[in-house]
Amino acid sequence: MIVVDSLTKDFGTVRAVDGLSFLVEAGSVTGFLGPNGAGKTTTLRVLLGLVSPTSGTATIDGRRYAELPEPMRMVGAALEASSFHPGRTARDHLRVLVLSAGLRLTRVDEVLAQVALTESADRRVGGFSLGMRQRLALAGALLGDPQVLLLDEPANGLDPEGIAWLRGFLRHLASQGRTVLVSSHVLAEVQQTVDHVVIISRGRLIRSAPLAELTQNHAADVRVRTPDADRLRAALEAQGAGVGAADGVLHVSGLTPPDIGRIALREAVELHELVQEESDLEQVFLSLTDSEGSQP
C-alpha cells in the first residue's frame, strides 16, 4: 500500500506539493490525475526517494523507498521517456540497471520480450521513437518483477496505436494483482484502465474516489434540442429510452446519438442540437483544468 501523508515540497519559493495526502490500496489500479504542473511528478519523485520532502512522508508498505532492502523487486517506476543515454543500446541500458540492483541478467531478455522490443534490443536508444522509449522505460520498471508500479505519464507522446497497446498492457499488469499508480494529465488515457482516481491540482488533493463513484451519478446523457420536443420524446420513450425534458431540451439516457438521429429522421422531427454530454469525471477534471487556466 502506498501512503502519502501531509506531503509538502517547496522548490525555492515555489510550493510544488501542498499538504497532499492519499492512499493507494494494494492491488488497485489508480489514476493519478491533474493538469500539467499540478505536482504529480514531484509527488512520485518524493515517493521514490529522488526528492526529499519539505515536510510529510510518502511510504510504500510503511517504508521510505531508500529503506527498502531490494527496491526494484518491490517497486518499479517509469518516470520519463527521455532518460536514456542515446548512445547506449536498449539491452545495455537494462543490463546496467540489472547489475546495479543485483538482479538476474536473464531478466533483460524477459522484459524486452514483455514490451515487444526484442528485435530492437541491440540498437542505440538515440534512434528509438517516443513510443519505443516509453516501452523501454516500462521494461526498466518491470526488471525486478515488482508488485508495485509507478508510471508517470506513460502515454505521453504515444500515437493512438501506442495508447491502445499501453491500455492492454496496464490491464494485463492489473490482472496479475499488481498495484499500479499511473499519472496522466489526459483523463481519457487512463479512464478505461483505472478503478480508482486521485485528482490533484496545484499540489493539493481535489478528490480521491473509486472511478465508479464519480461516474455513476451522471451516466452520460445525450442532450437533444428540437422545436418538436413532445413528439420526439414519445418516439424515444417508445424505444425504451429515459427522457427528461426542460425548455425544449431533452436529456436522453439509454440511446446513443446515432440512434436518436435515426429515430428523429424516421419521425421527420427537426433537430437543432444532438450532443453527447460529458460524464461527471470529465466535468470534474475539466473544471480543474479551467480554473487552472483562468488563474494568473
Binding site: 519523485r45 529522488l50 523507498y65 520519463e80 527521455s82 532518460s83 546496467v96 547489475l99 546495479s100
Partner: protein, 248 residues
C-alpha cells in the same frame, strides 16, 4: 558492491565516448614525445645531452591526463544531461555507494589510459632517442616516471568525477576544466611557481617529474601525496554534493 562496479564499468564501455577520448589522449602523447625529441637542442630548447631532458620525454606518458579528466566529467554529467541518474538512484538508492563505484570505475579507466600512454611513449621514445644518440637514463627512473604517469592519469579521472558532480552542466564543466588546466593553472605555474607548485597541475607535474626544471616544483613524493590528496578531496566533493541533492 561488485554489481555496482560492474554497472559503472558497463556504463563507460557501452557508449563510444571512451574510445574517442583514448584516441585523443594517445594523439597528445605522440605529439608531445615526437615534438620534444625533434626540437631538443634547437633554439634554446633543452638539449638531449642532459638526463633531465630525457626524463621529461618519458614523462610525456602522462600528457593524456586531460582526456581522463574529461572522461570523469562526462561520466558524471552525462547522467544528469540524459537524466539516467534517475534510473541509477532507483536501482541503488544508497547514493554514496553509487558514487564510490563510479569513482573506482573511472580510476580503472584512467589506469587503462595511463598504461596505453606509457606503452605508446615507450614505443616512440626508445627508437627516436636511440636515433638521436641520447644518453641512457636508469631503467628504474623510467619505470618510476611511467608509474607516476599512470597514477596521475587515473587520479585525474577521479578528479573529473568530482568536478562533474559539482558542476552538473556538461558543457560548463568541460569548458571550466579545460580553461583551468590549459590557461589559468599553466599560467600560474609558469609565472608564479611558488603558488603554482601547490596547485593540482603543479603537484601532478612534480609527481610525474614532467619538467626539466624540477627546482620550481615539489619533490616527486611530496607532489604525489599532494596530488592524491586532491584526488581524495574531489572524490569527497562528489559524494557530499550528490548525497542530498533533489533529482528532478
Amino acid at each position: 558492491m561488485t554489481g555496482l562496479l560492474r554497472a559503472e564499468l558497463l556504463k563507460i564501455r557501452s557508449t563510444r565516448m571512451w574510445w574517442g577520448l583514448l584516441v585523443g589522449a594517445l594523439v597528445f602523447v605522440a605529439i608531445q614525445v615526437v615534438a620534444l625529441i625533434l626540437v631538443s637542442g634547437q633554439q634554446g630548447a633543452p638539449s638531449l645531452d642532459q638526463g633531465s631532458t630525457v626524463r621529461t620525454i618519458w614523462a610525456s606518458a602522462g600528457t593524456g591526463s586531460t582526456f581522463a579528466l574529461v572522461l570523469g566529467i562526462l561520466g558524471m554529467t552525462t547522467e544528469y544531461r540524459h537524466m539516467t541518474i534517475t534510473a541509477t538512484f532507483l536501482a541503488t538508492p544508497r547514493r554514496g555507494r553509487v558514487i564510490a563505484a563510479k569513482l573506482v570505475a573511472h580510476a580503472a579507466f584512467g589506469v587503462v589510459f595511463g598504461v596505453a600512454g606509457a606503452a605508446l611513449t615507450a614505443a616512440l621514445a626508445v627508437p627516436l632517442l636511440a636515433m638521436k644518440g641520447a644518453p641512457a637514463i636508469p631503467t628504474s627512473t623510467i619505470l618510476q616516471v611511467l608509474g607516476a604517469a599512470v597514477v596521475g592519469v587515473a587520479v585525474y579521472a577521479v578528479v573529473g568525477v568530482g568536478v562533474g558532480s559539482f558542476v552538473r552542466n556538461q558543457v560548463a564543466a568541460i569548458v571550466a576544466a579545460l580553461v583551468w588546466v590549459f590557461l589559468v593553472e599553466s599560467l600560474i605555474i609558469t609565472l608564479l611557481p611558488q603558488v603554482g607548485k601547490w596547485l593540482p597541475g603543479g603537484a601532478a607535474n612534480a609527481m610525474m617529474q614532467a619538467t626539466s626544471n624540477r627546482g620550481s616544483l615539489l619533490e616527486p613524493w611530496a607532489g604525489g601525496l599532494l596530488f592524491l590528496a586532491y584526488g581524495l578531496a574531489f572524490a569527497a566533493l562528489a559524494a557530499v554534493t550528490t548525497q542530498r541533492r533533489d533529482i528532478t
